[in-house]
Protein backbone atom coordinates (compact mmCIF):
# COMPACT_ATOMS: atom_id res chain seq x y z
CA UNK A 1 0.00 0.00 0.00
CA UNK A 2 1.42 3.38 -0.90
CA UNK A 3 2.22 6.10 1.57
CA UNK A 4 -0.30 8.45 -0.03
CA UNK A 5 -3.12 5.96 0.20
CA UNK A 6 -2.33 5.36 3.83
CA UNK A 7 -2.48 9.06 4.48
CA UNK A 8 -5.83 9.39 2.78
CA UNK A 9 -7.26 6.67 4.95
CA UNK A 10 -5.96 8.38 8.05
CA UNK A 11 -7.39 11.69 6.91
CA UNK A 12 -10.83 10.35 6.12
CA UNK A 13 -10.91 8.69 9.51
CA UNK A 14 -9.91 11.91 11.22
CA UNK A 15 -12.72 13.74 9.46
CA UNK A 16 -15.25 11.20 10.66
CA UNK A 17 -14.55 11.81 14.33
CA UNK A 18 -11.87 13.21 16.59
CA UNK A 19 -9.88 10.37 18.10
CA UNK A 20 -10.67 9.33 21.65
CA UNK A 21 -7.04 8.55 22.32
CA UNK A 22 -4.20 10.07 20.35
CA UNK A 23 -0.67 8.83 20.94
CA UNK A 24 2.01 10.78 19.19
CA UNK A 25 5.75 10.32 19.16
CA UNK A 26 5.65 7.88 22.08
CA UNK A 27 9.13 6.70 23.05
CA UNK A 28 10.02 4.53 26.00
CA UNK A 29 13.46 3.63 27.28
CA UNK A 30 14.29 1.41 30.23
CA UNK A 31 17.76 2.42 31.30
CA UNK A 32 19.63 2.40 28.02
CA UNK A 33 17.30 -0.05 26.31
CA UNK A 34 14.75 1.33 23.89
CA UNK A 35 11.44 -0.53 24.27
CA UNK A 36 9.48 1.70 21.90
CA UNK A 37 11.24 3.92 19.35
CA UNK A 38 8.58 6.22 18.08
CA UNK A 39 4.91 5.38 18.01
CA UNK A 40 1.87 7.33 16.92
CA UNK A 41 -1.60 5.86 17.00
CA UNK A 42 -5.17 7.17 17.12
CA UNK A 43 -8.02 5.25 18.65
CA UNK A 44 -11.65 6.07 18.03
CA UNK A 45 -14.70 5.20 20.09
CA UNK A 46 -16.30 1.97 18.98
CA UNK A 47 -13.15 0.90 17.19
CA UNK A 48 -11.01 -2.16 17.78
CA UNK A 49 -7.34 -1.73 17.06
CA UNK A 50 -5.10 -4.79 17.24
CA UNK A 51 -1.51 -4.52 18.34
CA UNK A 52 0.60 -7.25 16.79
CA UNK A 53 4.26 -8.15 16.75
CA UNK A 54 6.69 -10.75 17.98
CA UNK A 55 7.73 -11.15 21.59
CA UNK A 56 9.69 -8.13 22.71
CA UNK A 57 8.18 -5.89 20.05
CA UNK A 58 6.93 -3.47 22.71
CA UNK A 59 3.22 -4.31 22.75
CA UNK A 60 2.86 -4.84 26.49
CA UNK A 61 4.99 -1.77 27.17
CA UNK A 62 2.58 0.30 25.09
CA UNK A 63 -0.41 -1.07 27.01
CA UNK A 64 1.33 -0.21 30.26
CA UNK A 65 1.98 3.32 29.04
CA UNK A 66 -1.66 3.88 28.09
CA UNK A 67 -2.87 2.37 31.37
CA UNK A 68 -0.62 4.60 33.44
CA UNK A 69 1.72 1.91 34.75
CA UNK A 70 4.70 3.34 32.85
CA UNK A 71 5.38 6.93 31.86
CA UNK A 72 6.62 7.47 28.31
CA UNK A 73 10.16 8.83 28.03
CA UNK A 74 8.87 11.29 25.46
CA UNK A 75 5.78 11.85 23.36
CA UNK A 76 2.24 12.88 24.22
CA UNK A 77 -0.97 11.11 25.13
CA UNK A 78 -4.18 12.94 24.32
CA UNK A 79 -7.47 11.74 25.70
CA UNK A 80 -10.44 13.41 24.01
CA UNK A 81 -8.12 16.08 22.70
CA UNK A 82 -6.68 16.92 26.09
CA UNK A 83 -3.07 16.13 26.85
CA UNK A 84 -2.91 13.70 29.74
CA UNK A 85 -0.32 12.13 31.94
CA UNK A 86 -1.39 9.41 34.34
CA UNK A 87 0.40 9.23 37.67
CA UNK A 88 -0.50 5.56 38.09
CA UNK A 89 -2.99 2.89 37.08
CA UNK A 90 -5.77 4.26 39.28
CA UNK A 91 -5.45 7.67 37.62
CA UNK A 92 -6.03 6.05 34.24
CA UNK A 93 -9.03 4.19 35.64
CA UNK A 94 -10.66 7.37 36.84
CA UNK A 95 -10.47 8.52 33.22
CA UNK A 96 -12.52 5.50 32.13
CA UNK A 97 -9.62 3.33 30.98
CA UNK A 98 -9.67 -0.32 32.04
CA UNK A 99 -7.17 -3.09 31.44
CA UNK A 100 -7.76 -6.82 31.18
CA UNK A 101 -4.42 -8.36 32.04
CA UNK A 102 -2.98 -11.52 30.57
CA UNK A 103 -2.90 -13.09 34.02
CA UNK A 104 -6.36 -11.79 34.88
CA UNK A 105 -5.70 -9.89 38.11
CA UNK A 106 -8.61 -11.56 39.85
CA UNK A 107 -8.57 -12.54 43.52
CA UNK A 108 -9.10 -16.31 43.31
CA UNK A 109 -10.62 -17.03 46.68
CA UNK A 110 -13.09 -14.17 46.56
CA UNK A 111 -16.51 -14.21 44.96
CA UNK A 112 -17.31 -13.01 41.45
CA UNK A 113 -19.19 -9.98 42.75
CA UNK A 114 -16.40 -8.93 45.12
CA UNK A 115 -13.95 -9.16 42.23
CA UNK A 116 -16.28 -7.07 40.12
CA UNK A 117 -15.99 -4.33 42.73
CA UNK A 118 -12.39 -4.99 43.78
CA UNK A 119 -11.00 -1.74 45.21
CA UNK A 120 -14.33 0.00 44.46
CA UNK A 121 -16.67 -1.75 46.84
CA UNK A 122 -20.08 -0.19 47.37
CA UNK A 123 -21.03 0.84 50.89
CA UNK A 124 -24.15 2.05 52.61
CA UNK A 125 -25.14 3.94 55.74
CA UNK A 126 -23.14 6.19 58.02
CA UNK A 127 -20.90 3.29 59.08
CA UNK A 128 -19.99 2.66 55.44
CA UNK A 129 -20.67 -1.04 55.65
CA UNK A 130 -20.35 -3.11 52.50
CA UNK A 131 -23.51 -3.14 50.46
CA UNK A 132 -23.32 -6.75 49.31
CA UNK A 133 -26.92 -6.79 48.11
CA UNK A 134 -26.35 -3.95 45.68
CA UNK A 135 -23.02 -5.39 44.47
CA UNK A 136 -24.66 -8.78 43.90
CA UNK A 137 -27.63 -7.30 42.04
CA UNK A 138 -25.43 -5.06 39.94
CA UNK A 139 -23.11 -7.95 39.05
CA UNK A 140 -26.01 -10.26 38.25
CA UNK A 141 -27.51 -7.70 35.91
CA UNK A 142 -24.19 -7.13 34.16
CA UNK A 143 -23.38 -10.81 33.82
CA UNK A 144 -26.82 -11.48 32.40
CA UNK A 145 -26.58 -8.51 30.08
CA UNK A 146 -23.24 -9.67 28.69
CA UNK A 147 -24.31 -13.31 28.71
CA UNK A 148 -21.31 -14.40 30.75
CA UNK A 149 -22.26 -17.90 31.81
CA UNK A 150 -21.24 -18.54 35.38
CA UNK A 151 -23.06 -20.66 37.98
CA UNK A 152 -23.60 -17.73 40.33
CA UNK A 153 -22.10 -14.33 41.07
CA UNK A 154 -21.49 -15.73 44.55
CA UNK A 155 -19.17 -18.44 43.21
CA UNK A 156 -15.54 -18.07 44.11
CA UNK A 157 -13.25 -17.40 41.15
CA UNK A 158 -11.20 -20.56 41.56
CA UNK A 159 -14.32 -22.67 41.04
CA UNK A 160 -14.71 -21.20 37.55
CA UNK A 161 -13.18 -22.38 34.28
CA UNK A 162 -10.58 -20.31 32.43
CA UNK A 163 -13.16 -18.95 30.02
CA UNK A 164 -15.53 -18.03 32.80
CA UNK A 165 -12.72 -16.23 34.63
CA UNK A 166 -11.80 -14.26 31.53
CA UNK A 167 -15.51 -13.51 31.12
CA UNK A 168 -15.56 -12.06 34.62
CA UNK A 169 -12.41 -10.01 33.95
CA UNK A 170 -13.88 -8.56 30.77
CA UNK A 171 -17.24 -7.96 32.42
CA UNK A 172 -15.40 -6.04 35.11
CA UNK A 173 -13.67 -3.91 32.50
CA UNK A 174 -17.06 -3.31 30.87
CA UNK A 175 -18.56 -2.31 34.18
CA UNK A 176 -15.99 0.39 34.79
CA UNK A 177 -14.64 1.46 31.40
CA UNK A 178 -16.47 4.41 29.99
CA UNK A 179 -14.03 5.02 27.16
CA UNK A 180 -11.26 2.57 26.55
CA UNK A 181 -10.47 -1.06 27.28
CA UNK A 182 -7.00 -2.49 26.85
CA UNK A 183 -6.84 -6.25 26.40
CA UNK A 184 -3.50 -8.01 26.79
CA UNK A 185 -3.86 -11.42 25.12
CA UNK A 186 -7.31 -12.08 26.51
CA UNK A 187 -7.67 -15.54 24.99
CA UNK A 188 -4.09 -16.84 25.26
CA UNK A 189 -5.00 -19.58 27.73
CA UNK A 190 -8.44 -20.48 26.41
CA UNK A 191 -9.96 -23.27 24.33
CA UNK A 192 -11.81 -22.75 21.06
CA UNK A 193 -15.33 -22.41 22.45
CA UNK A 194 -14.20 -20.18 25.28
CA UNK A 195 -12.26 -17.99 22.88
CA UNK A 196 -15.38 -17.56 20.76
CA UNK A 197 -17.32 -16.48 23.83
CA UNK A 198 -14.68 -13.95 24.83
CA UNK A 199 -14.60 -12.56 21.29
CA UNK A 200 -18.35 -12.09 21.48
CA UNK A 201 -17.83 -10.11 24.67
CA UNK A 202 -15.20 -7.95 23.02
CA UNK A 203 -17.57 -7.20 20.14
CA UNK A 204 -20.28 -6.27 22.62
CA UNK A 205 -17.86 -3.76 24.16
CA UNK A 206 -17.36 -2.28 20.70
CA UNK A 207 -21.13 -2.08 20.27
CA UNK A 208 -21.20 0.02 23.43
CA UNK A 209 -19.02 2.53 21.62
CA UNK A 210 -15.96 1.77 23.71
CA UNK A 211 -12.55 1.97 22.09
CA UNK A 212 -10.55 -1.24 22.32
CA UNK A 213 -6.85 -1.88 22.00
CA UNK A 214 -6.15 -5.59 21.88
CA UNK A 215 -2.88 -7.47 21.90
CA UNK A 216 -3.16 -10.86 20.27
CA UNK A 217 -0.81 -13.46 18.88
CA UNK A 218 -3.57 -15.04 16.82
CA UNK A 219 -3.80 -13.41 13.43
CA UNK A 220 -7.08 -15.24 12.81
CA UNK A 221 -8.48 -13.52 15.85
CA UNK A 222 -7.02 -10.17 14.81
CA UNK A 223 -8.74 -10.45 11.43
CA UNK A 224 -12.02 -11.54 13.01
CA UNK A 225 -12.15 -8.66 15.47
CA UNK A 226 -10.16 -5.63 14.53
CA UNK A 227 -10.86 -2.57 12.41
CA UNK A 228 -7.21 -1.64 12.15
CA UNK A 229 -3.94 -3.36 12.85
CA UNK A 230 -0.84 -1.70 14.23
CA UNK A 231 2.36 -3.68 13.69
CA UNK A 232 5.40 -3.36 15.94
CA UNK A 233 8.80 -4.95 15.47
CA UNK A 234 11.54 -4.56 18.08
CA UNK A 235 10.12 -1.30 19.33
CA UNK A 236 9.62 0.12 15.85
CA UNK A 237 6.22 1.01 14.51
CA UNK A 238 6.16 -0.74 11.15
CA UNK A 239 2.78 0.52 10.06
CA UNK A 240 -0.97 0.64 10.51
CA UNK A 241 -3.36 -1.15 8.18
CA UNK A 242 -7.11 -1.21 7.76
CA UNK A 243 -8.00 -4.82 8.46
CA UNK A 244 -10.49 -4.98 5.58
CA UNK A 245 -7.86 -3.85 3.10
CA UNK A 246 -5.05 -6.04 4.30
CA UNK A 247 -4.38 -9.74 4.48
CA UNK A 248 -2.47 -12.13 6.65
CA UNK A 249 0.49 -12.34 4.31
CA UNK A 250 1.01 -8.62 4.44
CA UNK A 251 0.77 -8.52 8.23
CA UNK A 252 3.07 -11.52 8.65
CA UNK A 253 5.72 -9.93 6.48
CA UNK A 254 5.39 -6.70 8.44
CA UNK A 255 5.79 -8.58 11.71
CA UNK A 256 8.79 -10.61 10.58
CA UNK A 257 10.38 -8.12 8.22
CA UNK A 258 10.68 -10.84 5.57
CA UNK A 259 9.12 -10.50 2.15
Amino acid sequence: MSEIMEQTIEQSRAERSAPLLALSGIRKEFGGIVAIEQLSLDLHSGEIVALVGDNGAGKSTLVKIVSGVHKPTSGTIRLEGRETSFADASAARTHGIEVVYQDLALADQQTVYMNMFLGRELTRGPLKLLDRRRMIDDTEALVKDLDVRIPSVRSTIRDLSGGQRQGVAIARATRWASKLVLLDEPTAALGVAETAKVEELILSLKARNIAILIISHSLDQVFRLSDRICVLRRGQQIGIRETARSDKNEIVSMITGLH
Binding site: A89, L104, A105, L118, K128, L130, P151
Partner: protein, 338 residues
Protein backbone atom coordinates in the same frame (compact mmCIF):
# COMPACT_ATOMS: atom_id res chain seq x y z
CA UNK B 1 -27.58 -22.85 42.76
CA UNK B 2 -28.77 -20.70 39.91
CA UNK B 3 -27.65 -22.45 36.79
CA UNK B 4 -27.07 -20.35 33.76
CA UNK B 5 -24.25 -22.61 32.76
CA UNK B 6 -24.74 -24.35 29.48
CA UNK B 7 -23.04 -26.75 27.14
CA UNK B 8 -19.54 -25.90 26.16
CA UNK B 9 -18.84 -23.17 28.65
CA UNK B 10 -17.15 -24.74 31.60
CA UNK B 11 -18.48 -28.07 32.66
CA UNK B 12 -16.95 -27.96 36.10
CA UNK B 13 -19.54 -28.65 38.69
CA UNK B 14 -19.74 -26.38 41.65
CA UNK B 15 -20.24 -28.57 44.65
CA UNK B 16 -22.71 -27.74 47.33
CA UNK B 17 -20.10 -27.05 49.97
CA UNK B 18 -19.00 -23.91 48.19
CA UNK B 19 -22.47 -22.52 48.03
CA UNK B 20 -22.21 -20.50 51.19
CA UNK B 21 -23.34 -23.22 53.51
CA UNK B 22 -26.99 -22.54 52.83
CA UNK B 23 -29.18 -25.19 54.35
CA UNK B 24 -26.31 -26.42 56.47
CA UNK B 25 -26.69 -27.58 60.07
CA UNK B 26 -25.73 -24.14 61.24
CA UNK B 27 -27.71 -21.72 59.15
CA UNK B 28 -26.97 -18.65 61.25
CA UNK B 29 -23.25 -19.23 61.64
CA UNK B 30 -23.17 -20.55 58.10
CA UNK B 31 -24.45 -17.25 56.83
CA UNK B 32 -22.13 -15.22 59.03
CA UNK B 33 -19.10 -17.16 57.91
CA UNK B 34 -19.86 -19.39 55.00
CA UNK B 35 -16.71 -21.43 54.73
CA UNK B 36 -16.38 -23.42 57.90
CA UNK B 37 -19.19 -25.63 59.03
CA UNK B 38 -16.66 -28.29 59.99
CA UNK B 39 -15.27 -26.22 62.89
CA UNK B 40 -18.68 -25.87 64.44
CA UNK B 41 -19.29 -29.59 64.03
CA UNK B 42 -15.92 -30.43 65.59
CA UNK B 43 -16.64 -28.07 68.44
CA UNK B 44 -19.98 -29.72 69.15
CA UNK B 45 -18.48 -33.21 68.83
CA UNK B 46 -15.73 -32.51 71.35
CA UNK B 47 -18.18 -30.75 73.62
CA UNK B 48 -20.49 -33.79 73.62
CA UNK B 49 -17.54 -36.12 74.12
CA UNK B 50 -16.34 -34.28 77.21
CA UNK B 51 -19.89 -33.82 78.48
CA UNK B 52 -20.40 -37.58 78.43
CA UNK B 53 -16.95 -38.71 79.56
CA UNK B 54 -16.49 -36.03 82.19
CA UNK B 55 -20.07 -35.93 83.36
CA UNK B 56 -19.11 -36.74 86.93
CA UNK B 57 -16.12 -34.44 86.97
CA UNK B 58 -18.13 -31.26 86.64
CA UNK B 59 -17.34 -30.41 82.99
CA UNK B 60 -20.92 -29.39 82.29
CA UNK B 61 -21.35 -27.11 85.28
CA UNK B 62 -22.03 -23.46 84.51
CA UNK B 63 -19.01 -22.55 86.56
CA UNK B 64 -16.66 -24.73 84.56
CA UNK B 65 -18.05 -23.59 81.20
CA UNK B 66 -17.82 -19.95 82.25
CA UNK B 67 -14.28 -20.61 83.35
CA UNK B 68 -13.39 -21.87 79.89
CA UNK B 69 -14.61 -18.62 78.34
CA UNK B 70 -12.79 -16.54 80.96
CA UNK B 71 -9.54 -18.40 80.45
CA UNK B 72 -9.67 -18.16 76.68
CA UNK B 73 -10.54 -14.44 76.55
CA UNK B 74 -6.95 -13.20 76.00
CA UNK B 75 -6.26 -15.91 73.39
CA UNK B 76 -9.50 -15.06 71.58
CA UNK B 77 -8.50 -11.40 71.37
CA UNK B 78 -5.06 -12.34 70.02
CA UNK B 79 -6.73 -14.70 67.55
CA UNK B 80 -8.84 -11.84 66.18
CA UNK B 81 -5.70 -9.86 65.42
CA UNK B 82 -4.09 -12.87 63.82
CA UNK B 83 -7.08 -13.43 61.51
CA UNK B 84 -6.43 -9.99 60.01
CA UNK B 85 -2.71 -10.69 59.57
CA UNK B 86 -3.09 -14.16 58.07
CA UNK B 87 -5.93 -13.08 55.78
CA UNK B 88 -3.68 -10.38 54.38
CA UNK B 89 -0.99 -12.99 53.70
CA UNK B 90 1.18 -11.95 56.64
CA UNK B 91 1.88 -13.59 59.98
CA UNK B 92 2.62 -12.31 63.46
CA UNK B 93 4.70 -14.51 65.75
CA UNK B 94 5.44 -11.73 68.23
CA UNK B 95 1.99 -11.27 69.77
CA UNK B 96 2.83 -13.46 72.80
CA UNK B 97 5.85 -11.34 73.72
CA UNK B 98 3.87 -8.18 72.98
CA UNK B 99 1.20 -9.35 75.42
CA UNK B 100 3.78 -9.75 78.19
CA UNK B 101 5.43 -6.37 77.55
CA UNK B 102 2.04 -4.63 77.39
CA UNK B 103 0.84 -6.24 80.62
CA UNK B 104 4.08 -5.34 82.41
CA UNK B 105 4.01 -1.74 81.18
CA UNK B 106 0.38 -1.39 82.26
CA UNK B 107 1.15 -2.83 85.69
CA UNK B 108 4.23 -0.61 86.11
CA UNK B 109 2.27 2.48 85.13
CA UNK B 110 -0.45 1.68 87.62
CA UNK B 111 1.98 1.48 90.52
CA UNK B 112 2.05 5.25 90.59
CA UNK B 113 -0.70 6.36 88.20
CA UNK B 114 -4.45 5.83 87.78
CA UNK B 115 -6.00 2.94 85.83
CA UNK B 116 -6.52 5.03 82.71
CA UNK B 117 -2.77 5.54 82.37
CA UNK B 118 -2.23 1.82 82.76
CA UNK B 119 -4.72 1.12 79.97
CA UNK B 120 -3.06 3.71 77.76
CA UNK B 121 0.38 2.24 78.49
CA UNK B 122 -0.69 -1.33 77.73
CA UNK B 123 -2.57 -0.50 74.54
CA UNK B 124 0.04 2.03 73.46
CA UNK B 125 2.88 -0.45 73.79
CA UNK B 126 0.88 -3.06 71.85
CA UNK B 127 0.09 -0.65 69.04
CA UNK B 128 3.67 0.62 68.93
CA UNK B 129 5.14 -2.89 68.61
CA UNK B 130 2.55 -3.79 65.99
CA UNK B 131 3.25 -0.61 64.06
CA UNK B 132 6.97 -1.33 64.20
CA UNK B 133 6.42 -4.82 62.76
CA UNK B 134 4.05 -3.35 60.19
CA UNK B 135 6.45 -0.65 59.08
CA UNK B 136 9.25 -3.17 58.58
CA UNK B 137 6.98 -5.36 56.48
CA UNK B 138 5.10 -2.70 54.54
CA UNK B 139 7.83 -0.26 53.64
CA UNK B 140 11.10 -2.12 54.09
CA UNK B 141 9.51 -5.10 52.31
CA UNK B 142 10.81 -7.61 54.82
CA UNK B 143 8.90 -10.88 55.23
CA UNK B 144 6.60 -10.73 58.25
CA UNK B 145 7.63 -14.22 59.33
CA UNK B 146 11.23 -13.11 59.87
CA UNK B 147 10.41 -9.66 61.24
CA UNK B 148 8.03 -11.00 63.87
CA UNK B 149 10.27 -13.97 64.64
CA UNK B 150 12.95 -11.42 65.50
CA UNK B 151 10.65 -9.12 67.47
CA UNK B 152 9.21 -12.14 69.28
CA UNK B 153 12.67 -12.83 70.69
CA UNK B 154 13.47 -9.18 71.14
CA UNK B 155 10.40 -8.37 73.21
CA UNK B 156 10.59 -11.62 75.15
CA UNK B 157 13.97 -10.31 76.26
CA UNK B 158 12.56 -6.84 76.96
CA UNK B 159 9.80 -8.43 79.08
CA UNK B 160 12.46 -10.19 81.13
CA UNK B 161 14.66 -7.14 81.69
CA UNK B 162 11.78 -4.73 82.41
CA UNK B 163 11.29 -6.07 85.91
CA UNK B 164 14.26 -8.34 86.25
CA UNK B 165 12.03 -11.44 85.97
CA UNK B 166 9.86 -10.34 88.89
CA UNK B 167 6.10 -10.17 88.66
CA UNK B 168 4.28 -6.96 89.48
CA UNK B 169 1.03 -6.93 91.40
CA UNK B 170 -1.91 -4.95 90.03
CA UNK B 171 -3.83 -3.58 93.00
CA UNK B 172 -6.03 -1.11 91.20
CA UNK B 173 -9.61 -2.26 91.87
CA UNK B 174 -11.23 -0.34 89.05
CA UNK B 175 -8.73 -1.84 86.59
CA UNK B 176 -9.02 -5.43 87.81
CA UNK B 177 -12.80 -5.08 87.87
CA UNK B 178 -12.98 -3.65 84.38
CA UNK B 179 -10.59 -6.14 82.78
CA UNK B 180 -10.81 -9.16 85.04
CA UNK B 181 -12.90 -10.14 88.02
CA UNK B 182 -15.77 -7.68 87.62
CA UNK B 183 -19.12 -8.21 85.98
CA UNK B 184 -21.81 -6.17 84.29
CA UNK B 185 -25.49 -7.21 84.25
CA UNK B 186 -24.42 -10.46 85.90
CA UNK B 187 -22.05 -11.34 83.09
CA UNK B 188 -18.29 -11.39 83.79
CA UNK B 189 -16.36 -8.55 82.20
CA UNK B 190 -14.07 -10.96 80.33
CA UNK B 191 -17.14 -12.37 78.57
CA UNK B 192 -18.15 -8.84 77.57
CA UNK B 193 -14.65 -8.19 76.24
CA UNK B 194 -14.80 -11.39 74.22
CA UNK B 195 -18.22 -10.60 72.79
CA UNK B 196 -17.29 -6.99 72.09
CA UNK B 197 -13.99 -7.78 70.41
CA UNK B 198 -15.49 -10.54 68.27
CA UNK B 199 -18.39 -8.32 67.21
CA UNK B 200 -16.19 -5.36 66.31
CA UNK B 201 -13.62 -7.62 64.63
CA UNK B 202 -16.28 -9.44 62.65
CA UNK B 203 -17.95 -6.25 61.44
CA UNK B 204 -14.65 -4.72 60.36
CA UNK B 205 -13.52 -7.94 58.72
CA UNK B 206 -16.70 -8.91 56.90
CA UNK B 207 -18.58 -5.68 56.42
CA UNK B 208 -16.14 -2.91 55.63
CA UNK B 209 -14.06 -2.05 52.59
CA UNK B 210 -10.97 -2.41 54.75
CA UNK B 211 -11.86 -6.07 55.45
CA UNK B 212 -12.42 -6.70 51.75
CA UNK B 213 -9.06 -5.08 50.95
CA UNK B 214 -7.32 -7.24 53.56
CA UNK B 215 -8.69 -10.37 51.86
CA UNK B 216 -7.84 -9.12 48.38
CA UNK B 217 -4.29 -8.28 49.46
CA UNK B 218 -3.76 -11.75 50.91
CA UNK B 219 -5.40 -13.41 47.95
CA UNK B 220 -3.61 -11.67 45.09
CA UNK B 221 -1.49 -8.68 46.07
CA UNK B 222 -0.87 -7.69 42.47
CA UNK B 223 -4.56 -7.73 41.60
CA UNK B 224 -5.22 -5.67 44.71
CA UNK B 225 -2.52 -3.20 43.70
CA UNK B 226 -3.77 -2.71 40.14
CA UNK B 227 -7.29 -2.34 41.51
CA UNK B 228 -6.13 0.72 43.43
CA UNK B 229 -5.82 -0.90 46.88
CA UNK B 230 -2.88 0.50 48.82
CA UNK B 231 -1.25 -2.84 49.62
CA UNK B 232 1.60 -1.57 51.87
CA UNK B 233 -0.91 0.37 53.94
CA UNK B 234 -3.02 -2.79 54.41
CA UNK B 235 0.07 -4.76 55.48
CA UNK B 236 1.02 -2.05 57.95
CA UNK B 237 -2.47 -1.90 59.42
CA UNK B 238 -3.03 -5.65 59.87
CA UNK B 239 0.18 -6.00 61.87
CA UNK B 240 -0.70 -2.91 63.89
CA UNK B 241 -4.08 -4.49 64.63
CA UNK B 242 -2.25 -7.61 65.81
CA UNK B 243 -0.18 -5.49 68.19
CA UNK B 244 -3.27 -3.65 69.47
CA UNK B 245 -5.04 -6.98 70.11
CA UNK B 246 -1.98 -8.31 71.93
CA UNK B 247 -1.95 -5.14 74.03
CA UNK B 248 -5.60 -5.64 74.95
CA UNK B 249 -4.93 -9.31 75.71
CA UNK B 250 -2.15 -8.17 78.05
CA UNK B 251 -4.59 -5.90 79.89
CA UNK B 252 -7.04 -8.81 80.25
CA UNK B 253 -4.30 -11.04 81.65
CA UNK B 254 -3.20 -8.36 84.10
CA UNK B 255 -6.79 -7.78 85.14
CA UNK B 256 -7.69 -11.43 85.63
CA UNK B 257 -4.47 -12.48 87.37
CA UNK B 258 -4.14 -9.16 89.21
CA UNK B 259 -0.48 -9.29 88.32
CA UNK B 260 1.82 -9.09 85.31
CA UNK B 261 4.76 -11.35 84.61
CA UNK B 262 7.12 -11.90 81.70
CA UNK B 263 5.65 -15.38 81.09
CA UNK B 264 2.21 -14.01 80.13
CA UNK B 265 1.29 -14.97 76.59
CA UNK B 266 4.37 -17.14 76.27
CA UNK B 267 2.44 -20.37 75.71
CA UNK B 268 -0.28 -18.78 73.58
CA UNK B 269 1.54 -18.79 70.24
CA UNK B 270 0.72 -22.35 69.22
CA UNK B 271 -2.77 -22.31 70.69
CA UNK B 272 -3.75 -19.05 68.99
CA UNK B 273 -2.36 -20.07 65.61
CA UNK B 274 -4.14 -23.41 65.90
CA UNK B 275 -7.39 -21.73 66.94
CA UNK B 276 -7.26 -19.40 63.95
CA UNK B 277 -6.42 -22.11 61.41
CA UNK B 278 -9.02 -24.49 62.80
CA UNK B 279 -11.45 -21.60 62.64
CA UNK B 280 -11.20 -21.45 58.88
CA UNK B 281 -8.51 -18.84 58.23
CA UNK B 282 -6.01 -19.72 55.52
CA UNK B 283 -2.34 -19.74 56.49
CA UNK B 284 -1.43 -18.29 53.09
CA UNK B 285 -3.95 -15.48 52.88
CA UNK B 286 -7.18 -14.58 51.14
CA UNK B 287 -9.52 -16.33 53.51
CA UNK B 288 -10.40 -15.63 57.12
CA UNK B 289 -13.09 -15.93 59.76
CA UNK B 290 -13.41 -14.04 63.04
CA UNK B 291 -16.26 -16.06 64.49
CA UNK B 292 -14.45 -19.21 63.40
CA UNK B 293 -11.43 -17.98 65.37
CA UNK B 294 -13.62 -17.52 68.45
CA UNK B 295 -14.97 -21.05 68.09
CA UNK B 296 -11.43 -22.33 67.49
CA UNK B 297 -10.21 -20.55 70.59
CA UNK B 298 -13.07 -21.93 72.71
CA UNK B 299 -12.30 -25.36 71.28
CA UNK B 300 -8.69 -25.08 72.42
CA UNK B 301 -9.82 -23.87 75.85
CA UNK B 302 -12.31 -26.71 76.14
CA UNK B 303 -9.62 -29.19 75.18
CA UNK B 304 -7.30 -27.78 77.81
CA UNK B 305 -10.02 -27.89 80.43
CA UNK B 306 -11.21 -31.39 79.53
CA UNK B 307 -7.73 -32.88 79.58
CA UNK B 308 -7.08 -31.42 83.02
CA UNK B 309 -10.39 -32.77 84.31
CA UNK B 310 -9.52 -36.17 82.88
CA UNK B 311 -6.57 -36.11 85.22
CA UNK B 312 -3.81 -36.13 82.61
CA UNK B 313 -0.38 -34.95 83.72
CA UNK B 314 1.11 -31.83 82.14
CA UNK B 315 3.31 -33.76 79.73
CA UNK B 316 0.46 -36.03 78.65
CA UNK B 317 -1.72 -32.97 78.14
CA UNK B 318 0.87 -31.45 75.86
CA UNK B 319 1.13 -34.60 73.79
CA UNK B 320 -2.62 -35.10 73.46
CA UNK B 321 -3.21 -31.44 72.73
CA UNK B 322 -0.50 -31.47 70.09
CA UNK B 323 -2.01 -34.50 68.40
CA UNK B 324 -5.54 -33.10 68.46
CA UNK B 325 -4.36 -29.78 67.05
CA UNK B 326 -2.53 -31.63 64.29
CA UNK B 327 -5.67 -33.57 63.45
CA UNK B 328 -7.88 -30.48 63.59
CA UNK B 329 -5.56 -28.46 61.38
CA UNK B 330 -5.30 -31.32 58.90
CA UNK B 331 -9.08 -31.54 58.67
CA UNK B 332 -9.57 -27.82 58.26
CA UNK B 333 -6.89 -27.57 55.57
CA UNK B 334 -8.15 -30.59 53.64
CA UNK B 335 -9.33 -28.66 50.60
CA UNK B 336 -6.84 -25.83 50.48
CA UNK B 337 -4.57 -27.57 47.98
CA UNK B 338 -7.08 -29.07 45.69
Amino acid sequence: MSTTERGSHGTRAITAKHQHGRGSLWPVLGRLEPQNGIVYLGFVAIFIFFAVVLHDDGFLTTRNLTNIVLQTAPATIMAIGLVFALSAGEIDLSFGSTTAVAALCAAMAMQTMPALMGIAAGLGVGIAIGAFNGAMVAWLKLPSFLVTLATMGLFAGVARTLTDLRSIAVINDSFTGFFGSGDFLGVPSLVWWTIGAVAVGHIIFRHTRFGAHVLATGDNARAAQVSGIKVPRIRFLVLTICGACAGLAGLLYAGRLQAAKYTLGESDLMIVIAAVIVGGTALNGGKGAIIGALVGSLLMGMLNNGLILMGLGVSDQMIVRGLIILLAVAISLRDINR
